[in-house]
Amino acid sequence: MNTTIDDGTHGGSALKLHRQLAEIWATGPGLQRLAAINHSVIGVRFMVTAFVFFAIGGVLGMLTRVQLATPNATFMDAETYNQVFTMHGSIMLFLFAIPMLEGIAVYLTPKMLGTRDFAFPRLTAYGYWCYLFGGTILTTALVAGVAPDSGWFMYTPLSSNVYTPGINADVWLLGVTFVEISALTLAVEIIVSILTMRAPGMSLDRMPIFGWYMLVTALMMVVAFPPLILGSILLETERAFGLPFFDPSRGGDPLLWQHLFWLFGHPDVYIIFLPMAGLLSTMIPVFAGTPLIGYRAIIVAIIGLAFISFGIWVHHMFTVGIPHLALAFFSAGSAIVAVPTSVQLFAWLATLAHGRPIWNVPMLYIFGFFSTFAIGGLTGVMLAMVPFDWQAHDTYFVVAHFHYVIGGSVAFPILAALYYWLPLLTGRTAVYRLAIPAFWLIFVGFNMTFFLMHLAGLLGMPRRIYTYPAVENWTWLNLLSSLGGFIMTIGFALVVIDLIAQVRYGRRVRRDPWKAATLEWAMPIPPSPYAFASLPHIEVRADRIAVGDLAPSLARGEGYLGFVRNGWQETLGVHMTSGMPEQLIVLPRSTYLPLWTALATATAVLCMLFKLYLLSLGMVLVTAALFVLAGQSAGQTRDYGLLPVGRGLSLPPHTETTNPPAWWALAFTLVADGTLFTSLIFGLLYLWISAPNWPPVGRPDTSLAIALASVVVLVVAAISARGALRAVVGSRAPGAWIALSAAALVAAIAGLVVLIGNVIPRPTEHALGATAAAVLGFVVLHAAIGLLFLLSNILRLTFGLVSARRHIDFRLTRLWSDYTAITGALAIGLVLALPALVDLLGMRS
């Protein structure tokens, strides 16, 4: 990297600054597009890919409606139908809804927060490629006729080896987990970027409401996805290696899968809803011509909503035999979750009532949202009542309910947002000749399709049947429902034609066609790759900004960083709460590394799918090596001290601060990892207390000496990591500490492998042995990753990327080592406690 220092005083015209910045930030032409890491490029790719998957999922949905349009239909056989409806649900949830919200977040969030990009652009690109490859694996399986066929929530034992012996379920477990890696990486990225990379002066109370929604959503993702990832890993190991986590004949329990799935599945509804609510909260004030009412109340509501959504996962399991008292906890929670949702709805209605609403196409879709989401919410409260749920469970009433909730909360806001932000994306205004009939076709078709499903469900029609007899009233309801589906599809087709027409023939606009007051409009449209030529200083709430005055000033470079220096991609890092600038963040340039890393990850997944486990392990190591390699191309080879950032302020580069974005990223990654660990412990204790065939025949037995020795060496590794950090800060050689830490980790791995090898009962014989092995395996994995951290430390020392002021790598290693030692001690302690826990079972009533 160029090490000369430019003092940053180069001024000049807006055009000159634009050319200088564009040269640094632009993605190259041709094949270089594969190296793109810019948030605008990746955001658009996410959204376009999600729309493609939406189209595929939509076609599958239409196929189910063709099959169900008439009784005793032979359009599809049961086998094909199972694959089609499973893939319809899986694609809409995992390949459309979540990636779409991620795409919107990636594209819009940096712009709304007044920064130039996300904190880890290479991670954004890696997330996109993982999503694309994971989605491709799933859809290719559909074409090959081996798609998942056990329903989108993959209940065991239907998805276990006995009832699904082919690779259908493996495709789902591995493909969806792959896509979730993408979601988790982006969630961490979104959190860190929102917290540390806002425009200077944008304290939390000045953050646009969309920022709050995305922050809460991303935090939910960090905690919601790990239980499903764990469940998928456990089910895959059961299918591949015979570990009986969900097999009741060997101490497992199918209900454990349901718990793990819905610990993800229920919050997921709100993970999808909240960003859409964020879009609505941004658009409605613009069309109402007045600021959003209830900003603070909405923030309290979404925090409450986020928590409560996790606490009501059991309402998907009301019929599995849980005692009344526990059901009441979750029934009441499922009812009260309507309150924070309603706070938002009433805030939007109050905003509209307080202003002078302008009727426009986005507003049509917003009202489409109001009506459909209200119906979905009300039927949700009905289903929260246990007696009603017992009657309606697994009927078409539930299908109708969740299509209203998901359709209402996703499809209509997304279409509203699409028309609202289309000028930002394309630089052209909308032509509404097709947009209005398209809306009415979608609205009428949607309600015709799904409202009638309520009635079919109340008449007793179960979900997931591939055909039905000519029962009176089912027939005409299904026929009309299918007809509605076709009307809705014609509407969506019109939207696509409309969008193509607008991109091609729309009138060009300069900026801010809606007279909005948020920062994404304070830039030329379509946006330049650097987003802002200079960064604003925010002194009012960031949805009340005088965009017309601010934008030309920023373009002239009158804000922060209104210059170029050393060819660096620069932006600013701020204090989490106050928004005061703290560091100069230098972002990486375009690189093919994310693509190669995602390809290696995809190969590992494919090898696992085809049971080439050694090759898969090799590709996992290649993936890890590419991550370590990525670390070597980040950072500086010298200390810079304070550098001018404009407006009379000087800041240190992020490499010379104590808590740069990377530290927070690891901290939030550990939150996700800790959730997975907690879910694993929950799984073990759940089986202990609830599963049949406990206690096992053989009493658990663990070598106390090896177990304690393993804990000791993990602690030694953590202490050594601290010693290495102290040595670096004190300008001493950390080599001896690194060597000691590595030796301790190797010893811990060896000890834990011996413990796993001697687990009683054997992991394939009883779930107790399987879960004990899984808990110990978790520690082995983390100790091995600790070795990668140490390897990275050595490489960065060798390349001169570390100094007494540039020691973030060693701080990351310390954090990881501490975490490994703590979770290791807990895991080993639990395994040691297993004999006592088994003895306790003898006291059961």
């Binding site: 109340a297 409450g304 009441a332 204090h575 709460t577 106050s578 407006r647 609830s690």
Partner: protein, 126 residues
């Protein structure tokens, strides 16, 4: 250039003042974390009590005690944060944080009472 008023000259010293006034972000999650803890405690107590055949009274009073402890904790947090943020608050950001933290505490208190309280009057393990 600024969003509305004239540019303020930022220096490293003024940054320190702003940082000193700032609140900790995690406080926003405290209220509902207590609710989550209360729910987990109640669910675990109920599972353990039913599995090991606790008497109805023992189980019911255990659950009631767990709920009361969490309600008391919310009360203690309320007192703590009421003292922590002086009136009038130091800054607009502090005022905002105080409002949201107090809002989440009230909402969490109500949520504990509503979601966990009425269930105590139901049959315990059937």
């Amino acid at each position: 250039m600024k969003a509305k008023s004239q540019p303020e000259t930022l220096t490293n010293s003024t940054m320190k003042v702003h940082k000193g006034q700032a609140c900790h972000l995690w406080l926003l999650a405290v209220g509902f974390s207590v609710w989550a803890c209360a729910l987990a405690a109640a669910y675990v107590l109920h599972s353990v009590g039913c599995t090991f055949g606790w008497s109805t009274d023992t189980l019911r009073w255990s659950l009631a005690l767990a709920i009361l402890i969490h309600l008391a904790l919310i009360g203690a947090l309320w007192r703590t944060f009421a003292r922590r943020f002086p009136t009038p608050p130091l800054s607009q950001t502090d005022s905002f944080m105080r409002w949201v933290i107090m809002g989440t505490l009230i909402a969490a208190f109500i949520t504990i009472v509503f979601t966990l309280g009425p269930a105590l009057f139901l049959t315990t393990c059937t």
